[in-house]
Structure formats: C-alpha cells, structure tokens
Amino acid sequence: MSKNTNSAHSEQFYKEKHKEEMKHQVITFAMMIIFTIIAFGLVAGGFSKYFTIPVILVLAVVQFLFQLYYFMHMNQKGHEMPALMIYSGVFAAALTVLGLTTIVWW
C-alpha cells in the first residue's frame, strides 16, 4: 500500500487546499472571539434578561457549530457517521437537560 505516488503537482494542490482551509479557520476564530465579546458585553451592559439569555444561548450554539464544522473538520467529507452520532448525542443531551430543568421538584 501507499507507495509514494504523490507527484510534486498534487503535493502543491494539497498545500493550496490546506492553506485555504486554514484561512477559514482563522476567520472562524475571529468570529468566535467577536461572539464571545458580544456575549460578555451584553451581560456586562445590564440588558434585560429576556433579551440577553436567548441571544447568548444562540451565540453559544453558533460557536458550537463553528467548532464542530471548522475546527473539528466536520465540514469535510467522511464525517457522516461522526455527524450522525454527535447529533444523536445532542438529542439525548437536550432531553436530559430539558428533563432536569422542567420536571424536578423545585
């Protein structure tokens, strides 16, 4: 297996491709930092909690998706099974949190 067939040409192609990916990662990172600052800013700014809490939760979910799809490469092919399992896990996780926040004695 795996004889060294990579010609200089394809090597160059992959280098370019990785560079492109890396650019996306840096953009992702910048947006995550911005989102974080917005979230902290909202809380520090003392806005209404009915406005702040939904917004910071949405920002967290978006950051979660950024991590998965860009940093953990779930946007690349060959990640169908990981995606299926992560979303199944998120489903079970959501039910768990929902149960423990709604139907416990207070």
Binding site: Q25, F29, F71, G89
Partner: protein, 209 residues
C-alpha cells in the same frame, strides 16, 4: 503494510490520520466517544441547572454576586486561542511538517496550562472569599462537579498531548502516530466546546438571572 512502513516518516499521504484501517477506526471511535461525552456533560449541566442557587437551610452566595466576569473572559480567550493553535498543529500535520506541528502543540499546552492556572485561582478565590465550597450546599457541589469535570478533562488533555509530543519528538510523524495526534486534537476542541457552554450557561446566565 509492513511495520517499517508504519514507522517511516517519508511515505505520508495527504491525510495521514485516516490512511490506515487502524487510523480510520480510531478516528470514528473517538468521535463516537465524544458523542457519549456530550450526554455526560449534559447530565452535569442538568444537575447544575436544577441545583443552581439552591442552598437549603445553609447560607450561600448567589450566582449574581459570586461570579466575576473578567477572569472568565480571560480564561475563555485562552481556551479559544488554544483551539486555534491546535488547528494550526493539525494544519502542519497535513503538510507533513512535524517540527511546526510540535511547536503549535507546545503553544496549545502552554495556553491550556494558563487556563488551568486561572481556574485554580478562581476556585481558591471562591473558597476563601465567599466560603463557596464543595460541601457547603447543593449549589456548591453542582458547581464544582460541573466545572471540575471540565477542568479534569483539561488536565487529562494536557497530559495526553505532552506524552505524545515527548514520545514522538525524535522519530517524527508517521502513519502509526498521526491518528493519535489527530484524535488528541479532537479531544482538545471538544474541551473548548464544553467551555463555550460553561461560560454561557454557568457564568453569563448566572450573572444575569
């Protein structure tokens, strides 16, 4: 494939982490493990939310007074940056540049240590300034268990990445260790994912409500 092929570092395909069956298995198995970890942390979050500000008959400091945002913000930036540096490391792995990969992994470890230092200081602060301890009330137990489980994951991740870096320092990247580096970086990103929810649900929401 012979054993020598597995341990050479001059025969790497463009995705060395998934080039062998062992690599593919590790890759998939580790993603599934992370799926299970999602439920583990969800159970901890659920417990925390159910017991937040729950002091029973004891005296305790509520979340709005307890948490300080400055330190949490610094910790968040440290951990988010370490996620980026670990992506950098994987970028260099895909380009077969072992030295740069090690360098960026080293930066990741340093940032992780910085995060851990902040967390230890934070806990120390809570215990000594506010008597907010693990055994004081249910809220304390839930808080330290959730955040402590995350901290424990950080410690394990640091030990893991450091072990890999030292073990492979001399021989470089090969088909045998590439999947190991890759899944260690996946683990590190997952730690960051959990932290995103901790800083939002625990600290920010605790400060608001």
């Amino acid at each position: 494939m012979t054993h020598d092929d597995m341990l050479r570092s001059d025969n790497l395909p463009h995705e060395p982490e998934k080039a062998t069956l062992e690599g593919k298995n590790k890759f998939l198995g580790f993603w599934f493990f992370l799926g299970g970890e999602t439920v583990l942390f969800a159970s901890l979050f659920g417990t925390y939310l159910a017991l937040k500000n729950s002091f029973g008959g004891t005296e305790g400091v509520p979340t709005t007074e307890l948490y300080g945002l400055e330190l949490v913000f610094i910790m968040t930036v440290l951990l988010l940056t370490s996620s980026l540096t670990s992506v950098y490391a994987m970028y260099h792995m895909k380009n077969h540049d072992f030295k740069k990969m090690q360098l960026w992994l080293g930066v990741t470890v340093l940032l992780g240590l910085g995060f851990l230092g902040c967390e230890i200081y934070e806990f120390y602060h809570y215990v000594h300034e506010y008597h907010h301890t693990f055994t004081a009330h249910a809220f304390g137990s839930a808080f330290y268990t959730l955040v402590g489980f995350h901290g424990g994951h950080v410690v394990f991740g640091l030990l893991w990445i450091t072990t890999l870096m030292i073990r492979n320092a001399k021989r470089g990247l090969n088909l045998y260790n590439a999947p190991k580096f890759y899944i260690a970086s996946l683990y590190w990103h997952f730690i960051d994912v959990v932290w995103v929810f901790i800083f939002t649900v625990v600290y920010l929401m605790g400060k608001v409500a």
